[in-house]
Amino acid sequence: MKYALFLGCTIPARGLHYEASARKVAEFLGIELVDMPGAGCCGMPIRNVNQTSSLAMSAAALQQAEEMGLELVTLCSACNSTLTEAAHLLHEDKELREKTNATLKKAGKKPYGGTTKVWHFTRLLHEKIGPEKIADLIKTPLSGVKIVSHAGCHYLKPRTVFGGFDSPEDPVTLDALIEATGAESVQIINRNECCGGGILGFKEDTSVKIAGGKLKRIIDAGDIDAMVLHCPFCNIMYESHQKKLERDSGEKIDLPIIFLPELLGLAFGLDTKELGFGQHKVKPSAILEKLGV
């Protein structure tokens, strides 16, 4: 199993523990991730202002993977949605592909042929490895660990683009992988709510207030050890903004936010330092103590 790894903007600068743990977990499972030299942004932020540009940016990434002869895997949900939607549009609509290729040509880039399949790393683990095989490989069962999952929006929406591989209203794939480790995935009210990250740059207070809502519901549920997610931007909202939310409300949150590959790596018995556990702003020390690692 060999895939082109598309890192995007946020992960290599602000999600190092996500990248490190994903690379370690992939290696452990026999998935080869090949880096894409020179790849930049997927186009997501530019979609707001000019979809011709964002589509060309996506097409450039898809073309690079196509030239490598590999399917593309992303760790970031925003990249996942943007590239999956671009692939969907460019594969279905020949005229749009020709128009986009004209933009690429003007920018001195090679044309996209229209063959690249895009995966989110979580979906790849769920479909190509599967929760059963993952459960068989567990060395440190996470029994007694209570998790609230955050599947987020751009892992599986819009449904028209993702073909409904998982339900936007009641997603199960991320939870199945969490439960494969022996941890319990606890269901809370309105568990699929957006992190608010899409408007952090446009209206910070509103954006952070949205993130705070879900964190509060998790605290209210009681006894939750961590939130598990798989998008660096959701992580910025829930982990990097936790201190600000605590200051604003005067209430303690102190909820560790862990990326899915970190959780899997922990259960596979991989080295926590190499998985990047030292990078957390909200220290997950209580879970590590609970598991004796």
Binding site: T10, A13, I46, V49, G213, E274
Partner: protein, 176 residues
């Protein structure tokens, strides 16, 4: 309640009745005329739940009424988190998230790019990523055994240049 949501008298003379047709011809705006104003979008919206100035049902109504200037020059269209909850639930399949992208693109074309997008376009042109990859970042990466990343991708800059977006960012007008 902020000014943008305050009820005010709509003056006929300022309405642009063809605005809905203009929007329906945009990429993403095709199904706007199917909206029957049920409000499922607004009821489902995580932004609306905490901030009354964003109301997708109202934005659609304003487009249908022809309130072109109010829609394109004011802040609300920029407050969509593109979570697609409304798009998934819309009984008329209006494709609301795609529609709001279309409105933001049109506002940009008219010179009303949101001010926060200007530095983003600039950073992407310079570095090809939203974050500059400094030597300090690469040292941190090396400590975790991660490969060194180059700090510049010319290709993004040439795309933003060839579509005229760099130019649009420098020529944006102030919004209302």
């Amino acid at each position: 309640m902020s000014d943008s949501t305050k009820a005010s008298t709509i003056s006929d003379s300022r309405l642009k009745p063809k605005f809905k047709t203009e929007v329906s011809e945009l990429f993403g705006g095709e199904r706007i005329k199917s909206c029957f104003q049920c409000g499922t979008c607004t009821a489902s919206c995580p932004v609306r739940a905490v901030d009354e100035s964003y109301n997708p049902r109202k934005i659609i109504r304003m487009v249908l009424l022809g309130m072109r200037d109010e829609v394109l020059k004011q802040e609300p269209i920029w407050l969509c988190t593109y979570c697609y909850t409304c798009q998934e639930r819309c009984p008329q399949d209006v494709g609301i998230t795609d529609l709001v992208f279309a409105l933001k693109n049109l506002a940009t074309k008219e010179g009303y790019m949101h001010p926060s997008m200007v530095p983003q376009v600039d950073i992407l042109s310079q570095f090809g990523r939203l974050y500059e990859m400094t030597d300090f970042d690469n040292k941190k990466r090396a400590k975790l055994g991660l490969p060194t990343l180059e700090n510049k991708q010319e290709s993004i800059d040439s795309i933003l240049d060839s579509t005229g977006l760099k130019d649009a960012a420098s020529k944006r007008k102030g919004s209302e």
